[in-house]
């Protein structure tokens, strides 16, 4: 499993880096797959409501009403119909990619099981929606789908009689199944919306809207495609004629051809087993849980920063239990906490300028305390020499710089770059522990802990508490967001940074002392 994930990760990275070149990391569709899923869902829902206004739900009239929508008002209903179809297809594409990508990033194991677990049934619902939708057109494709689907359902020991017998020929058909499909096609999307909401309940700040430019580009290109190549019906259903050759929506129907070669019962079994395997994926094999963050009430002033920054909604504000006169206190929900440490990075009391004995912040990880972070920084930099001494602080999910390969570079690894309180950078530079700080984190938009890198950038830019103080010389900080690929580029960036530091030293010697102090 691990090597499969790594191989997929590598593949995604290759593709994503090239998309980065055109879209930039923020607009890269690959870091926005989940939110694109929401976006396509809304397009499908809105266009669906429009179509339903003009759709006749009777089996006999359905086809004609859709022909009207498509041909008579091609500029409105026709476009809506095309959007409805194409957005449904695009939804399948982005969600499958989303699934594989989240898998390759390993964002499903241990306490992160919930999103994956609720995602799996969504797959079934997406397919049920799509297939029932094609049924409603009651054209030749619908006829094919009706026959093959009911024959397939008949292989399940659920129904006493053969439901495929409802579609034998024109003489025997009744509209009751059609009515059921119309109902399913409306009920399932509503339930899906509920599941999509549930899907992100354990995530804080889940991105449900793609960046505006990406949304605009997607919608405009989809409208253009709808005008050039509108979605149309096939000839009307006629049960006395065999739907021998049909135009096929491969996004929804790709498994149907299998039914012509594999017995239906076996296909159900395979799909059931596949679903079960998917559902169990977060526990294959079980992950050892790291101990959750702990709150130290003596140092918690109830400022809520940790609540705002935790990517997993694992912290809430509770009533004060120690009688102190603050508004509340941080309370960690251990079953959500993945031990990323981002909360410690947010806590105003996590500052290395305090005496070592006092260095217990309001919240931190028991097996990676803020005091030990300070020790590690001091240890790793103690032996460095020269004017280009660099402290690399790297995320354990990004490829790390090797301190043995780089002389006069100290390396400290943290569980997530978001765990680093900005005051530590101030400390390193103002106490002259090193000449520069090289922050080595996950690729933009790709943070393993979802928000760590983003919070770090905002803290350094002064857009989010806790800020990096203004006095800290920004030229002595290098931010490197390359994730776990791009080894050479990382080395190049580090080398260039060190050249810059040496230049700074020379210019400082020539004119005035070093900044800070």
């Amino acid at each position: 499993m691990g090597s499969l994930k790594r191989a997929l990760r590598f593949l995604f990275q290759r593709v994503e880096y090239s998309f980065d070149a055109f879209f930039g990391p923020a607009l890269n569709p690959f870091v926005n797959l989940g939110s694109l899923g929401w976006f396509f869902y809304w397009i499908v829902a809105a266009s669906g409501v429009y179509l339903y206004i003009f759709f006749d739900t009777g089996m006999v009239q359905a086809y004609d009403s859709i022909e009207q929508i498509t041909n008579v008002q091609w500029y409105a209903g026709g476009v809506m119909r095309s959007l409805h179809r194409y957005a449904s297809d695009a939804l399948v594409v982005v969600i499958i990619l989303h699934l594989v990508r989240e898998f390759s990033l390993d964002r499903l194991r241990g306490k992160r099981w919930f999103a994956w677990f609720t995602g799996v049934p969504l797959l079934w619902f997406i397919y049920a929606c799509g297939i029932s939708g094609y049924w409603m057109v009651w054209d030749m494709l619908a006829q094919y789908i009706a026959i093959v689907t009911t024959e397939w359902l008949d292989t399940l020991p659920l129904f006493g009689e053969s439901i495929a017998s409802n579609f034998l020929n024109n003489a025997s058909i009744t509209g009751r199944f059609f009515t059921l499909m119309v109902f399913i096609h409306i009920a399932i999307p509503l339930f899906m919306l509920f599941l999509m909401w549930l899907h992100i309940q354990r995530l804080d700040n889940a991105r449900v809207n793609p960046p505006r430019a990406l949304a605009a580009g997607t919608l405009i290109s989809m409208i253009v495609m709808s005008l050039i190549f509108p979605a149309v019906s096939q000839p009307p259903a006629n049960l006395d004629v065999v739907p021998a050759v049909v135009n096929f929506d491969w996004f929804y129907l790709a498994i149907y051809p299998l039914l012509d070669v594999v017995p239906g019962g076996q296909l159900w079994l395979a799909m059931g087993a596949g679903t079960l395997l998917l559902i169990l994926m977060p526990w294959l094999p079980p992950q050892r849980n790291k101990p959750p963050a702990v709150v130290n009430l003596d140092n918690c002033n109830g400022c809520r920063r940790c609540v705002d920054d935790c990517p997993y909604s694992a912290i809430t504000m509770g009533a004060r239990t120690d009688g102190a006169l603050f508004d509340g206190q941080a309370v960690v929900n251990a079953s959500n906490c993945v031990a990323c440490g981002i909360c410690a990075g947010a806590c105003p009391t996590a500052t290395p300028f305090r005496r070592a004995t006092d260095l217990v912040p309001g919240i931190e990880l028991p097996n990676f305390s803020i005091a030990s972070l300070k020790e590690k920084i001091l240890e790793s930099t103690a032996q460095l020499q020269g004017a280009d001494r660099v402290l690399v602080i790297g995320c354990e999910n990004a490829r790390q710089v090797s301190s043995s390969a780089e002389p006069d570079v100290g390396v400290v690894t943290v569980p997530c770059i978001g765990m680093l309180p900005p005051s530590f950078i101030d400390f390193v530079l103002s106490r002259n522990v090193a000449d520069g700080v090289f922050i080595n984190g996950c690729r933009e938009g790709d943070c393993f802990n979802r928000l760590g890198a983003q919070w770090m950038r905002q803290r350094l830019a002064g857009q989010r508490d806790p800020y990096l103080r203004r006095r800290v010389p920004r030229e002595r900080i290098h931010l490197c967001w390359l994730g776990n690929g791009r080894k050479k580029r990382r080395s190049r960036e580090l080398a260039a940074f060190r050249v810059l530091l040496r230049d700074l030293a020379v210019s400082n010697d020539n004119g005035g002392g070093k900044a800070g102090g």
Partner: protein, 175 residues
């Protein structure tokens, strides 16, 4: 140093490639939403569907209870005959000309085997003139079938020909 001109070209190139990406994605979506076509059945062939529900006879014949047996039953449950619930499977055979297309025994449905038997089969055949023969046994009879129908039919390409069974109208129906 990168000149302003080079920057403009680079950003133009980025925009262009974004546009190309959108176009390729949407073209892929539109294409695979209808093509390539799928051939479910060879369009030069016809289809015969054999499909019906029918209940076989009861497995045990109803038998008269002896006076002693009636005596043993609770007074409000006394009856003259006793019948089992379980039914026989039905035996079906379908011939196209002299070729056997299908022969099977369809078991009764239901947890206690007391429901109807269901037959649903689809056959892809060559169009043209054929002698179609279908037989059904729903009893203990061993020497012959309870129902049989044979008819010369003309099949067109892509015709969907249904062989049904309605005992109330005399047995097999061809349409």
């Amino acid at each position: 140093m990168i000149t302003a001109e080079e920057k403009r070209v680079a950003s133009l190139f980025k925009w262009l490639m974004q546009g190309v990406s959108y176009a390729v994605f949407m073209a892929g979506i539109a294409y695979f939403s209808v093509l390539p076509v799928y051939e479910h059945v060879d369009p030069s062939k016809a289809v015969i569907k054999l499909a019906f529900n029918h209940a076989g006879e009861l497995k045990e014949k109803c038998r008269r209870l002896t006076p002693e047996e009636i005596q043993k039953l609770a007074p409000n449950m006394r009856r003259q005959t006793q019948c089992g619930r379980e039914r026989l499977p039905i035996e079906v055979e379908l011939y196209l000309d002299d070729q056997l297309l299908y022969r099977a025994s369809a078991p009764p449905s239901g947890l206690w085997g007391d429901g109807t038997s269901t037959v649903y089969q689809r056959f892809v055949v060559t169009p043209g003139s054929h002698l179609l023969t279908v037989r059904l046994r729903d009893s203990y009879r061993t020497d012959s079938f309870d129902f049989e129908h044979s008819e010369r039919i003309e099949l067109r390409a892509r015709q969907n020909f249904v062989v049904g069974f309605r005992p109330e109208t005399g047995g097999f129906s061809f349409d």
